[in-house]
């Protein structure tokens, strides 16, 4: 039995935990405003709000209902387009009308829900953030100009939000209907009921599992890592960071703790899928999915992260992330093992850089991605870690290149030579994300880009152009 609130209705359903929320909304609850566009989280037509209790308050975010298993909505508040104002237009809907930001209309409910989710974010709206909020929504008709204008209008209105009672303000301004006031109380009652005992395939956000095998998962016994609160924290202690396995990419991106060490984190993470997918996808999910271009893995490989694993019948263990993979989609993990966290050292003077190139800049899978962390001792490289995705059967840690550079001076010659070593230790294949010649060349470029961005004076555009790129 799964219990949640759908708009203002309490739902108790015996539908399988592995069936997706979109199908429940459309074909069981018969709410047809939420659309099925791609069922792989790439179009956003099925976007809904998910609210969960946090310190007695309901926190809302946008999610794609096509990849959300029902098991992940236990105890949550799900809001579809039908759950907004019944009699009048919300300012979001009105702005979309006023700016002619809807043509065929099929993608429109998704945009409206993403923008409504944005209205519920506790922080102040900016023109940039409001666009991020709709980064997972594809429109094939409008060319987006009108949608951008509508979004900017909404952002301007939201900038006036009263922060002492944001919910009250949103209700007063008709962003949300009155019933939102009681949701927190109603969710508390549901929370009190214990979820079903779980044993089975572990699901995090489901953002890849439910793309690959949705029909099979309906019949599979599942357990949901997001239900376990001890997997959801980010801690920094004694120059070490520990991130729980069920922490989402968006939570990392928005973590004030991590901002301090990674000032470019928001820009980097903006290149990783879209806001609703980041709201869903977890660190552990990204690791066990074992995609050779897994963005989070590439990020943490260059921080020399360690994976913490909870075994079913043995004591817990740890393994360095760079030793975790042993083949394409193969890793040192047994059935029933659960990745509880990753942790990595966070020295105060770390320099870090992440690069990703894909066919489309946002919400796309990398052709090649790469991360580099470096600690300098004067002109000498004291410590360095380099990772690269899309160039090997699994997320690649460039061991030979790292070994070569450790203890070397930071010079054009050394970096150029290191690039040669790097290209000799990878094994890219030609596929839909580019042929192997391209991937090799691109990795070389991104390798140089790391140094160009981290040491702009030593590796200026002029130096790169005239001495290293050999045009």
């Amino acid at each position: 039995m799964i219990t949640f609130i759908l708009n203002d209705q309490l739902v108790r359903t015996e539908e399988p935990a592995g069936s997706v929320l979109l199908d429940f909304i459309r074909y069981k609850a018969r709410l047809m405003g939420t659309k099925a566009g791609c069922r792989e989280g790439d179009c956003g037509a099925c976007t809904v709000l998910e609210g969960h209790l946090e310190n007695g308050e309901v926190r809302y975010k946008s999610i794609v209902s096509c990849l959300t298993p029902l098991g992940n909505v236990q105890g949550k508040h799900i809001v579809t387009i039908e759950g907004l104002q019944k009699d009048k237009m919300s300012p979001v809907q009105q702005a979309m009308i006023d700016h002619a930001a809807t043509q065929c209309g099929f993608c429109t409910p998704g945009f409206v829900m993403s923008l409504t989710a944005h209205s519920l974010v506790p922080k102040k709206s900016t023109p940039e953030k409001v666009i991020d909020a709709i980064s997972g929504n594809i429109c094939r008709c409008t060319g987006y100009r009108s949608i951008k204008t509508a979004a900017t209008d909404i952002s301007r209105l939201l900038a006036q939000k009263e922060m002492d009672d944001p919910l009250g303000w949103l209700i007063k301004k008709a962003f949300l209907p009155e019933y939102f006031r009681n949701i927190a109380g109603r969710l508390k009652e549901i929370q009190a009921t214990t979820p079903d005992a779980n044993d089975g395939k572990i699901v995090g956000g489901g953002t890849d599992l439910f793309v690959q095998q949705p029909d099979a998962l309906i019949k599979t016994s599942l357990q949901f890592s997001k239900a376990e609160t001890n997997l959801q924290t980010i801690d920094i202690k004694d120059s070490f960071c520990r991130i729980g396995g069920a922490v989402t990419a968006e939570e990392i991106m928005k973590s004030d703790l991590l901002q301090h060490y990674f000032p470019r984190m928001k820009e980097d993470f903006r290149l990783i899928s879209s806001e609703p997918i980041r709201n869903m996808g977890t660190v552990a999910g990204n690791i066990v999915n074992a995609s050779p271009i897994a963005d989070l893995v590439i990020f943490f490989l260059a921080l020399d992260a360690t994976v913490e694993i909870k075994h079913k019948s043995q004591p817990d263990s740890t393994i360095p992330l760079r030793e975790f993979y042993i083949g394409y989609k193969k890793m040192k993990l047994h059935p029933g093992d659960l990745i509880t966290a990753i942790r990595f050292p966070l020295p105060e003077k770390i320099l870090f850089h992440f690069e990703k190139v894909s066919k489309r800049k946002h919400l796309d899978i990398a052709s090649v991605n790469s991360a580099l962390s470096i600690q300098m001792d004067g002109q000498v490289i004291k410590k360095i870690h380099l990772s690269a995705g899309g160039v090997y059967a699994w997320p690649f840690y460039a061991e030979k290149t790292v070994r070569f550079l450790t203890g070397k001076k930071l010079t054009e010659e050394n970096i150029a030579e290191a690039a040669g070593i790097l290209l000799s230790e990878i094994a890219p294949i030609s596929d839909i994300r580019g042929n192997k010649t391209y991937k090799s060349l691109l990795l070389r470029q991104l390798f140089f880009a790391h140094f160009h961005e981290l040491f702009p004076e030593t590796f200026s555009a002029e130096v790169l152009y005239s001495k290293m790129l050999a045009v």
Binding site: K35, C104, T108, P109, V211, K359, R433, V471
Partner: protein
């Protein structure tokens, strides 16, 4: 006026195919399709699916009571493959079950034995092997071959231009209900209700009168639902008719991508000759159109390619030839622009090639050769009300292009790793179906006794706002308020023999028919009002719901007049019929005047290429567009913006990929990328050109659906120009210009 569907859209209340309430005994269908691109079928065993719990029936070619034939233009397309498989994803069987999960699972149990045959995916290879949909066609004017010696410069080259997935967000689908006496009602997401009616009648061996097609709206189409909505409707009808149950068939995104055709990929060879003062004297071009496995609309699309071979330029000597090549890909089909973009891309490539060889900016050649009033297009049409020079000059002035180019040159000198590129893209696009007979439409207007009005036309609403325009035509003509008017669904029992809503012509054709219908009613009402007020009909005016005589309000309202008309047993319904006058094309002489008018405009596009990473963005896209006299600037501007971004996607990130054996590799939204909100140019401006509109355009407001897409082609040349600032040796014309091609192109060794 805003799109009348806006409120329904933003509240999620608008009804699309899959939102139609499901009748309780409905069955669900899934399509079993060919696993390889070319093969001879040895045996087909559907028993595994048939016996699967929850499956009601499995249909194969043998179960078709009528003809297994759905070819829209030429009868060369089976509904379900019988002996031979000709593309991967070709439908072979339809599994019908209690729900779609069962139908999908059961189709995996079908066993097919086949002998693989050689698959052709490349159009040049197909042409070499004589695999053609039709013998090659040529259009010509003057004698290009005799001109080369007289030209000061002659250049030749080759281009490739990839296909494009429509990616309507609503996938294909149909929902069919059996009715009494063997009749059927089919709801479909189609641009061509009549095509569906006709095809179902043929497949089931019924009369067209037995099939009712009804369409409320589409969640995007872009040409992809002109011919290719038909198979799914036929399959649903086949099952529904046989089982006497409602049957719903909605394609999953993956099935849709795999089973349906796209915009045609082309390869082309060109030769261009110029005079010393940069006049294009002669142009010769051969296109290899990748038609896919059957005709579909390939031949009509090929024809439009030929018509647009010269884009916006006057060329006295030209010969163009097109090979419509038969390959083992899904049948490629209509897509916004309908062959025009490919023709224009080759022309622009030829100009770019000449410019790079002569080391001058392409715009010098473009500007020199723009059409002027009275010029003869090489297919025989004399252009009238030509606005291309005006559009070009306005763009030059308003966008300060000379200054912009200088800024870019300075920027490029200062920045070794970031380069900018500017391109201008003039367009001249012909409006009308090139198949002249399709240029007809009908509209049905009912005025009810309370004065409210119901309007039916043959136009399909797919986001382009045609229903809003129809409402405007009605409100304006009858002098009543829009809230009195309802646009009905498009239904073949109310409006028969519809042409597809395509070729940008939906508003023109249906609007003119509607105008005729409204005027018919209006004329009778005026006569009545004249009688009631002792005046001539010619003195009567209807506006703001009031009746005027000689400009004086009579005190009589629209409602009262209608009530009077009804009591006097006056006809309050009217059907209007319109056929575009004057247009023709003589297929034997290969000359004619196929277009009612042309649409003109000029775009300026500025790219910025990161030469370290091979990525790029667009800083500016500014457009001067000829709307005629737009009847709805909000809707029309939206069409331009959407078209431009779709066109930019086409030549930049949208890369269709098939394996050598004909398997679609870009088979999901994670591998086929369309523009997202971050892809929009930082500065994006659309300005109307101040002109008067032509009479064939509805209320002088020009067709706007397709032409703007072709501004997007300029994105290719803007990126290419930036790349050449980094690597002057880059010389290809190979669209789309993905980040992969950019990086490889930037670092390709300059050949000596």
């Amino acid at each position: 006026m805003k799109n009348i569907d806006s409120k329904g859209h933003v509240t999620g209340k608008s009804v699309y195919l899959d939102d139609i309430p499901v009748r309780q005994d409905t069955l669900f269908a899934a399509v079993y399709s060919a696993p390889v691109a070319h093969a001879r079928i040895l045996s087909l065993d559907t028993s595994g699916a048939q016996n699967f719990p929850g499956v009601v029936a499995v249909f194969t070619a043998g179960d078709i009571p009528g003809e297994n034939q759905i070819g829209g233009t030429i009868p060369d397309e089976t509904l379900l493959a019988e002996e031979e498989i000709i593309y991967q994803g070709e439908p072979i069987a339809v599994v019908v079950a209690e729900n779609e999960y069962i139908a999908r699972e059961a189709r995996e149990k079908i066993k097919l034995e086949y002998e693989t045959l050689e698959a052709i995916t490349d159009p040049r290879e197909a042409a070499e092997k004589g695999s053609l949909l039709l013998s090659p066609r040529t259009l010509a004017m003057g004698d290009a071959s005799s001109q080369w010696d007289k030209c000061s410069y002659v250049f030749s080259g080759s281009t490739k231009i990839g296909g494009q997935e429509h990616l309507y967000i609503e996938t294909q689908g149909a929902y069919c209900f059996p009715k009494e006496n063997g009749n059927l009602t089919v709801y479909s997401s189609t641009q061509s209700p009549t095509a569906i009616q006709r095809a179902i009648a043929k497949v089931l061996g019924k009369g067209m009168h037995q099939i009712e097609t009804d369409v409320t709206r589409l969640g995007g189409a872009f040409g992809g639902k002109e011919d290719q909505a038909t198979p799914w409707a036929c399959m649903a009808a086949l099952a529904s008719s046989s089982l006497q149950k409602p049957v719903k068939l909605v394609l999953s995104r993956q099935d849709d991508l795999r089973m349906t055709g796209k915009r045609h990929p082309y390869a082309a060879d060109f030769k261009i000759g110029l005079s010393a003062d940069l006049k294009i004297m002669a142009f010769e071009v051969t296109y290899y159109q990748n038609g896919g496995a059957v005709n579909d609309l390939s031949l009509a699309i090929a024809e439009r390619t030929l018509f647009h071979a010269t884009n916006s330029y006057y060329i006295p000597h030209i010969k163009s030839t097109i090979y419509s090549c038969k390959t083992n890909l899904p049948p490629n089909t209509a897509f916004r622009g309908f062959g025009g973009p490919q023709g224009m891309f080759v022309m622009e490539s030829a100009i770019a090639k000449a410019a790079q060889e002569l080391e001058i900016p392409a715009l010098k050649i473009q500007q020199k050769n723009l059409l002027k009033e009275g010029d003869l297009l090489y297919y025989g049409q004399k252009v009238k009300q030509v606005h291309i020079r005006k559009a070009w000059q306005t763009a030059f002035r308003e966008f300060e292009i000379r200054k912009k180019q200088k800024e870019i040159d300075d920027f490029n000198k200062k920045n070794p790793l970031i380069k900018k590129g500017l391109a201008l893209m003039p367009i001249t696009f012909g409006i009308s179906f090139t198949a002249t007979f399709l240029n007809q439409a009908r509209a049905l207007v009912h005025v009810y006794t309370d004065g409210s009005v119901g309007v039916s036309t043959g136009a399909i609403e797919m986001g382009q706002g045609v229903n809003t325009k129809m409402l405007q035509v009605t409100a304006q003509t009858l002098g009543i308020t829009p809230s009195r008017i309802k646009l009905e669904s498009t239904n073949t029992t109310r409006v028969a023999n519809t042409s597809p809503t395509a070729a940008s012509s939906g508003a023109d054709l249906n609007g003119q028919a509607l105008l005729i219908a409204c005027r018919g009613i209006l004329q009778r009402l005026k006569k009545l009002a004249g009688e009631l007020h002792g005046a001539n009909a010619s003195e009567i005016d209807l506006k703001d719901e009031k009746i005027f005589v000689g400009g004086q309000f009579t005190g009589m309202s629209w409602e009262t007049l209608i009530s009077e008309a009804y009591l006097r047993r006056m006809q309050l319904s009217e059907i209007g019929h319109y056929a575009t006058p004057e247009i023709y094309f003589d297929k034997e002489k290969k000359k004619g005047s196929p277009f009612a008018y042309h649409v003109y405009g000029t775009a300026m596009l500025v790219s910025k290429v990161d030469c370290l990473r091979g990525t790029y963005e667009f800083e500016e896209v500014k457009i001067i567009h000829d709307f005629g006299e737009s009847m709805n600037p909000v809707i029309d501007t939206g069409q331009v913006e959407g078209g431009v971004i779709q066109g930019m996607g086409y030549v930049t990130m949208e890369e269709l990929a098939y394996s050598k054996s004909g398997r679609l590799l870009s088979n999901s939204l994670s591998t086929y990328k369309v523009p997202d909100i971050y892809s929009v140019p930082k500065v994006f401006v659309v300005k109307p050109l101040k002109v008067s509109g032509p009479k064939h355009a509805i209320l002088k407001s020009k067709a706007v659906g397709e032409p703007p897409l072709m501004y997007g082609l300029g994105a290719y040349f803007a990126v290419r120009n930036a790349m050449r600032a980094f690597n002057p040796g880059f010389k290809y014309f190979d669209s789309p210009i993905t980040p992969e091609k950019v990086l490889l192109g930037l670092y390709e060794k300059v050949k000596a």
